[in-house]
């Protein structure tokens, strides 16, 4: 199948307006004749479900959480970008566009990214009107902070709980539509398959997590807003239940998977402590506004710290290496995430890491506290400092924080066109679940922006075009054999998992997969390691299906069975990520291939051969996937070696 991105013709700044004008509309009175399924109630899903219901469509929204408000988006801390230029510091839609394209290492579509920057301003207006309590200046106007990869201050925030407040804004809008009867909200229910008939998405199969009931739901269109797949690494900053199942099962039904290997490793997370560890905690990037990153200059000092003989504060100023400030004088501690992470890895590889594991660097606030006073720092980051202290048991006002990179976000996801439609007509993907706007590296505070852009301001327009084309009669009832077969497949899969009765827990397999992914497909990758990883994953997957132990039955609440299904999908996705990483013989953004780097150790792209989106097509169990390329065209920016010096 030929990939058509449907990027509109015309000058960059006019593309979206022209496109909107060209899209077919559904007459207001006809909207109630269409049913739309929205899977996921995070920022993308809740904003989409609410906005579509406001327009008059009948929406069924699903989440595996007990409440729409518990989606993983709730955990986002730092902020959301918007090109408001309220600070009068030279920001503009074009600058946000430019920063995002550059930050993504020129592996995203110009048209999409420009649209994202364009609607970013509407998002802030919408959220404020909903009552989102963003931070304010004394005069009552909105405050901003800076984030990595930008030299303007354009990030809006609500203390360290921006995601929570934005999600609550969308949750409130959703709740209002539930009360109006336009959204039917179905919680504690997991989508396990998409039903495709005559080449169009017709509905989904779900499992009720309380009773185990497997059910069918049909609609004119299905939106997957199911988040990212960072948990393929087992340890990540994602919530424990975040998973790839919805996207992966859609992939197996014909939706291409875009750039699966593009993973973001976040530089500022609390380092790993023990083998029992279940997840990693992010310390917001906003901390890099005031915190200075350093390690001792000498290995000897670092070793003494690791052994607990001396403490960070014992190292005099001239024996410290503020390595980001040294290497990148113009961006300093605010270089993009991939750059900051890689540099932390380098200094630890050199034996200069701190913490007993040797896998940590310092993030030090002493200067900021001296400069601005403890009160100011407390007002800005109080809750993050508290969080750190609760987990680590150290007081960051007195001793520098220890941080290390951790898996955080997945730029890859289901391939979608400009309308957010996947390669299955009628199936859309929004938010982190799609691959669309961040290229090979996402800038901080841009995921919240993208999720809400997709849900509030893109899908309400683009879905109408499809619905108007198919017409209200083009829907299939749930007694259609395709739905019955779909239900049977899920029963069969669950029965198979329950009947293995092996000796290892689901968690053990998940952890083993995570280790392989982190070691060979993590912060830096090479051909040899990737080939090895591919084999290891295949073996692990085979063993899982022989030896996993899942107790209980399908017909009840069964958390092990839920987890088993998700890990089964991760075991397949992991191999595709490795394939994608292996085929991309260049370094770009979060994808760092050791074979392709500049003399200074920076990522070295190969624009002549790899300026494309890799979209993978599933061809059957244990068969190699087929690669499709969507060439990226740049008409407005010049591709350069990214420099943050």
């Amino acid at each position: 199948m030929e990939l058509d991105s449907k990027i509109p013709e015309g000058p960059l700044a006019e593309k979206w307006a022209r496109h909107k004008f060209g899209l077919k509309l559904v007459n207001p009175a006809n909207k109630r004749k269409y049913d739309i399924i929205v899977v996921g109630t995070g920022l993308a899903g809740a904003s989409a479900a609410a906005s579509l219901a406001e327009l008059g469509y009948n929406v069924k929204a699903f989440t595996f959480h007990d409440s729409a408000r518990r989606a993983h988006s709730i955990a986002a801390q730092g902020g959301i970008n918007a090109a408001k230029n309220y600070q009068n510091d030279g920001d503009s839609v074009f600058r946000l566009f430019y920063d995002t394209i550059k930050g993504g290492d020129y592996r995203a579509r110009e048209g999409n990214v420009y649209r994202l920057a364009e609607v970013s301003v509407n998002i802030i207006d919408q959220c404020v009107a909903q009552g989102v309590p963003f931070a304010r200046e004394y005069g009552g106007l909105l405050a901003n902070r800076s984030f990595g990869g930008a030299q303007v201050s354009r990030t809006f925030y609500a203390r360290g709980q921006t995601g929570q407040q934005l999600l609550l804004g969308a949750y409130h809008a959703l709740s209002r539509q539930v009360a109006n009867g336009k959204v039917k909200l179905i919680t504690r229910t997991e989508m396990l398959d998409v039903i495709v008939v005559d080449g169009k998405a017709r509905g989904i199969i779900t499992r009720n997590l309380l009773t185990g009931a497997i059910e069918s739901h049909s609609a004119h269109a299905v939106l997957l807003c199911t988040g990212g797949y960072g948990n393929v690494f087992y340890l990540s900053t994602n919530a424990m239940n975040s998973n790839v199942t919805a996207a992966w099962r859609a992939h197996k039904k014909g939706a291409y998977f875009g750039n699966p290997c593009y993973t973001q490793i976040h530089p500022t997370c609390i380092p790993v402590k023990g083998d029992y560890q279940s997840k990693l905690t992010l310390m917001s990037e906003s901390l890099r506004n005031d915190g200075r990153v350093w390690v001792p200059k000498s290995q000897q000092d670092a070793e003494k710290i690791r052994k607990g003989q001396i403490k960070a504060n014992d190292i005099p100023e001239d024996a410290r290496d503020y390595f980001l400030e040294r290497r990148y004088p113009s961006f300093g501690n605010l270089v993009p995430r991939d750059v900051a992470s890689r540099n932390a890895k380098y200094v630890c590889d050199e034996g200069r890491g701190v913490a007993p594991t040797g896998l940590a660097v310092y993030l030090d606030f002493a200067d900021a506290i001296r400069r601005d006073g403890r009160k100011t720092i407390e007002a800005k980051y109080g809750n993050l400092f508290e969080m750190y202290e609760k987990i680590v048991g150290d007081n960051p006002y007195e001793t520098p924080m220890m941080i290390y990179p951790a898996v955080h976000y997945t730029m890859g996801g289901l391939w979608v066109d400009y309308n957010l439609m996947t390669t299955i007509p009628g199936l859309y993907a929004l938010g982190e679940a799609n691959f669309s706007d961040h290229g090979a590296n996402r800038l901080g505070a841009s995921a919240l922006m993208q999720g809400l852009a997709d849900g509030y301001f893109v899908i309400p327009y683009t879905i109408g075009d499809y619905l108007a084309t198919i017409g209200p009669g083009d829907k299939i009832a749930v007694d259609h054999p395709a739905f019955k077969e779909g239900e049977q497949r899920i029963h069969d899969m669950n029965n198979r998992l329950l009947s293995i009765k092996g000796s290892k827990t689901v968690d053990e397999y998940h952890k083993a997969l995570g280790h392989i992914m982190w070691d060979y497909c993590g912060m830096s990758r090479n051909a040899e390691g990737l080939k090895k990883a591919k084999k290891m994953i295949q073996e692990l997957r085979a063993e899982f299906w022989q030896n996993v132990r899942v107790l209980g039955t399908n017909e009840e609440m069964n958390q092990s069975l839920e987890h088993a299904g998700r890990v089964a999908d991760f075991l397949e996705l992991g191999e595709l990520m490795v394939d994608d990483a292996l085929h991309r013989e260049e370094s770009c953004g979060g994808h760092f291939r050791e074979e392709y780097q500049t003399e200074e150790g920076e990522a070295k792209r190969d624009d002549a051969n790899f300026t494309y989106v890799a979209a993978w097509e599933y061809t059957g169990d244990n068969k190699p996937e087929v690669l499709h390329k969507e060439e990226l065209e740049f008409e407005n920016v010049k591709l350069t070696q990214r420099s943050y010096k």
Binding site: Q130, R176, P460, G552
Partner: protein, 252 residues
Amino acid sequence: MKITLKVWRQKNSNTPGKLVEYQLDNISPDMSFLEMFDVLNGELTKKGEEIIAFDHDCREGICGSCSMYINGRAHGPQTGSTTCQLHMRSFSDGDTIVVEPWRARAFPVIKDLMVDRTAFDRIAQAGGYISVNTGSAPDANEIPVPREVADTAMDAAQCIACGACVAACKNASAMLYVAAKVSHFAVLPQGQAERTMRAERMVAQMDTEGFGACSFTGACSVECPKSISLDHIARLNREYLGAKLTSNNVQG
């Protein structure tokens, strides 16, 4: 560390439950409380016993999923934190820890430590929002909000809807949860248009759900992982009274 756990096991809402004792020998003080449950569930699986069901997700104190009643306190001994933020260093070697689900008529037990908190969502649906359709908002800076007002709104809006306030209250009242939402909107200029209706409707729904009355003992605020202040309950009372006095649609 060695820990003895007494955990509430209950098959479903129709079956009576009981405390079951488990012995854990290899607990690290750096482990989180929920990681201890992961370890225990791993061991149970190996032994062929059913794992303990509990709600959790973010494991960093923000999603509001985790909800354990630990040694008689909602979210355990550490104030200002959730169950998932609790670490084993808060306990001593040899301790016995009793873990139960939230207990409240409006929060029926689903299984083991998992309860049904959808009553909270229905209260939100009753009026916990500002009615504004997508696309109809004015420029964000056209609505100036004094910093102290924004701060007060944020103090209230921090609520994670975990239900600890209900679990901590001897009457199982949901006043703090409702007060936080009503307060968040009542202080903001954007929230004025629906201010009275909101307070009335949310309180009416709270009563319908079977939450108890508030006797203002303050246990809710003490156990609240976000330390949401009782001031918000005072504000809710004012809002509600004001609403009742001026409302045209007084019911129940």
